[in-house]
């Protein structure tokens, strides 16, 4: 095959794939344009015939004939027709893929499909109202657009990045004086910014591109699960850099699958819950202050915090003690933890315990943030905040122990001067910021230095937690070009990359998550987050333990500070009371029953109990009992004991 043939075939493949994508979109849309579908199929048939791909031609022809009947009004467009046409689209795609790989279209037997296409044409149907006699008239895109090789675009982007760096250097050297050099530098500054913007826009693709496969996925998946789902797409023309589009494709698909599999209920369950049988899955994209906000929401069952809590305990994702302290919003965030899945039955679609953690990881890897908000019974909303591009980001340049570092602006909440309001808890510095206790990390110390100096707190936000990074000085904000640090530094978790500053020196870009993890922030303090929905009645959380065979006691979970295994050999007697040594103090023990496997530490007392059952939510008790986990359970009042 000659090079020219090769090119022509390539062109045929690209165009045909595009036609098929468009046809599929039409078929899945609210009011499919029969004309548009017909035209696409006709073009594929014609070009395939030119190349001698007879099988492609046969399928395209059969589908075209069926459409002919629709166009003439002899047949009405219906769901079965859409299904068969979608099958035809799939078959054509498959054959195109074979052409791409092997140069011929001999892929599978399409007898059944051809039969179905022909069969539908035979059905006598009363003339239907004209579905789409007049296709919306739009200027053919080919007149105003050209195809550009992605590699070339990437190269241009790299060059624009280099230019931004050189511009930054030039500006610093030229100064801001009124001489000719400074003026030229300012012009170059402006042109560079515009050029960079232009190249960025060139690389922008509407997010709708990644959504194009969703109608099909939703349709197939809903059909498979016996659910009714309406997909609503909003803001599909929102532009995003190619690199980001690529990176979110898989996570997004996973979130959508999850929403249908676990979120939206079966029609009968929905009706019982007083909702329309058809569930709604809504995707919304918008630009918001230099970022793209992507929202995936469903009106399904929502996430039940109690179930998540129980599951997390069962899977060992969190300890009992920690689970007791977590708010519902925090508990829901646990679905992002590795090894977590609340699906009662593992389905083929999701629920294998891989998924949401990978989704979160992938989104964070490109500098995005993901948050989840769910109301039990009312639905779940996933909010994803993405940078516009990966290549150039606004960053704050800071100084620690004489070295400069860049911090991506996206994670920076505010800057605060470090004044006297410092407190220490167990050696860990905390800062009072408007009634919130902000854990502080000294940058130099976090990077292995020994200096606890600094004058400015950069308040950073990561994974829903806030912390203050103390630095010696904060310089300007600069547009930095993110460069990889190379294979030998990739494993150092505190850096996200490196960049060249205006003066030609290199600054490392801090990985905020890496710093937080290294400083141990990740598990100490969570940022105050608005609760997703105030519970209707105040419910309390109870730690339920077994004390004798089959007898349970409940302890207010907020009083439990720690749970430890019971070790009989560690018990000493002090003035006739059993005590154990606990953190250099003596902890008096109270036996609640005959079972003794755990010590539940409450206030300054250790309760000796049997097995730990779980943590439950229940209405506040009356007369010292509550119905917990379907059983009447005695409440053990720790306050009374202390009194």
């Amino acid at each position: 095959m000659s090079a020219a043939d090769d090119d022509a075939t390539h062109e045929f493949l690209v165009e045909s794939y595009e036609h098929l994508d468009r046809i599929e979109r039409e078929l899945l849309g609210q009011a499919p344009s029969i004309d548009a579908i017909f035209r696409g199929l006709h073009t594929i048939k014609g070009t395939a015939g030119f190349f001698g791909y007879e099988r492609i031609g046969d399928v395209a022809h059969a589908a075209e004939s069926l459409l002919d009947k629709l166009r003439d009004g002899e047949l009405a467009f219906s769901s079965p027709i859409a299904s068969v046409l979608l099958d035809a689209v799939d078959a054509l795609r498959l054959m195109l893929a074979v052409v791409e790989q092997r140069g011929h279209d001999d892929a599978g037997d399409h007898g059944v499909l051809l039969g179905a296409l022909a069969g539908l044409q035979q059905q006598a149907v009363q003339p239907a109202p004209v579905v789409a006699a007049v296709a919306p008239v739009a200027a053919p895109a080919s007149d105003t657009t050209i195809r550009v090789d992605v590699e070339l675009l990437d190269e241009l982007m790299d060059l624009a990045g280099e230019l931004v760096l050189a511009r930054n250097q030039l500006l610093q050297r030229a100064g801001s004086g009124g001489d000719a050099l400074a003026q030229t530098a300012q012009r170059i500054d402006r042109i560079t910014s515009e050029l960079h913007d232009g190249v960025m826009r060139m690389r922008m693709q509407p997010i709708g591109g990644t959504w194009s496969k969703l109608p099909r996925i939703v349709r197939d998946l809903a059909g498979e699960l016996g659910k009714q789902v309406r997909l609503e797409l909003d803001g599909s023309d929102t532009g995003l850099d190619r690199s980001i589009i690529e990176a979110i494709r898989d996570p997004l698909t996973h979130v959508v699958r999850n929403a249908i599999d676990h979120g939206i209920e079966k029609p009968d369950a929905r009706v019982r819950a007083g909702k329309p049988a058809e569930g709604v899955l809504r995707l919304r994209a918008s630009h918001e202050g230099g970022h793209v906000m992507l929202e995936v929401s469903d009106d399904g069952a929502g996430i039940d915090p109690a179930r998540v809590r129980a599951k997390a305990l069962e899977r060992g994702v969190v300890g009992v003690e920690r689970a007791a302290q977590m708010t519902d919003a925090e508990v829901i965030e646990l679905v992002f933890e590795p090894g977590f899945s609340t699906a009662d039955t593992v389905t083929a679609i999701s629920g294998r315990g891989v998924g949401m953690d990978v989704v979160k990881h992938n989104i964070q890897a490109i500098g995005g943030v993901v948050a989840i908000d769910s109301r039990c019974g009312a639905g779940t909303t996933m909010r994803i905040k993405l940078p516009l591009t990966l290549a150039i980001v606004p960053a704050l340049i800071v100084d620690a122990a004489g070295d400069r570092y860049a911090i991506a602006q996206v994670g920076v909440r505010q800057l605060v001067r470090l004044d006297g309001r410092l407190e220490h808890i167990g050696g860990a510095p905390l800062y009072r910021l408007r009634g919130e206790l902000l854990p502080l990390v000294y940058l130099d110390e976090a990077l292995g230095g020994d200096a606890r100096t600094g004058s400015t707190i950069v308040v950073l936000q990561t994974e829903g937690r806030a912390f203050g990074l103390v630095v010696d000085a904060v310089y300007d904000s600069e547009e930095i070009v993110v460069k990889p640090v190379g294979p030998r530094l990739r494993d150092v978790p505190t850096y996200a990359g490196a960049t060249i500053l205006g003066d030609g020196r290199i600054a490392l870009i801090l990985d905020v998550r890496g710093i937080a993890a290294r400083a141990g922030i990740a598990t100490t303090k969570r940022d105050k987050q608005p609760a997703s929905a105030p519970p209707a009645t105040p419910r309390e959380r109870w730690l339920v333990v077994e004390v004798d065979a089959n007898r349970r006691l409940a302890v207010a979970a907020n009083r439990v500070t720690r749970i430890e295994p019971f070790d009989a050999t560690a018990i000493e007697l002090a003035r006739g009371i059993e005590v154990v040594q606990y953190a250099t103090k003596l902890l008096p023990l109270v036996r609640l029953g005959t079972d003794a496997t755990h010590i539940v530490v409450c206030d300054h007392v250790g309760l000796v109990t049997g097995a730990i059952v779980d943590i439950f939510e229940a209405e506040p008790s009356e007369h010292g009992v509550a119905v917990i986990d379907g059983r009447v359970t005695d409440i053990f009042d720790v306050a009374e004991l202390a009194a």
């Binding site: 070295d403 150092v492 020196r505």
Partner: protein, 142 residues
């Protein structure tokens, strides 16, 4: 191996294949990288390219360079990217005669044996040809 680009660290003469060397550079400002492997001197900006610099002395467990002493860069193409070797001085490109080649003595320091391919007994001194790919492979000795 034919031509070697030679350089010195702590008075010892080393060489890597001249074909692996991209360029030689004068002393450069180095941005240190806290928490990185101790053999990593930092990052240098070579005409807009960010390159990891490996300190040959640290890599070979040699004493540290005196404060303020000049250090040069041998910028080389390793299998997984460009690195710079920070050395005390840069020597000539030479082609040592094969008959002067011998195995690295078993008594040589472990770090040297790990990366040296052989030893050439030049008339006045020893020359250790190094494997660049082994040199850039940093273990866990942070």
């Amino acid at each position: 191996m034919s031509q070697l680009c030679t350089f010195e660290a702590d008075g010892v003469l080393f060489g890597i294949a001249a074909t692996e060397v991209q360029e030689l550079a004068r002393p450069q400002p180095i941005t240190r990288v806290p928490l990185a492997h101790r053999a990593i001197a930092g990052l240098i900006n070579l005409r807009g390219q960010i390159i990891t610099a490996i300190d040959l002395r640290a890599r070979l467990d040699m004493p540290r360079r005196a404060q303020g002493a000049r250090a040069f860069h041998v910028v080389a193409r390793a299998a997984d990217g460009i690195v710079s070797l920070v050395v005390d001085a840069i020597g000539d490109v030479i082609e040592p005669p094969a008959e002067l080649r011998d195995a690295v003595p078993a008594t040589a320091p472990a770090a040297l044996r790990e990366v040296a391919l052989a030893v050439y007994m030049l008339p006045d001194r020893l020359l250790f040809p190094l494997s660049l790919d082994r040199l850039v492979l940093l273990g866990d000795r942070s």
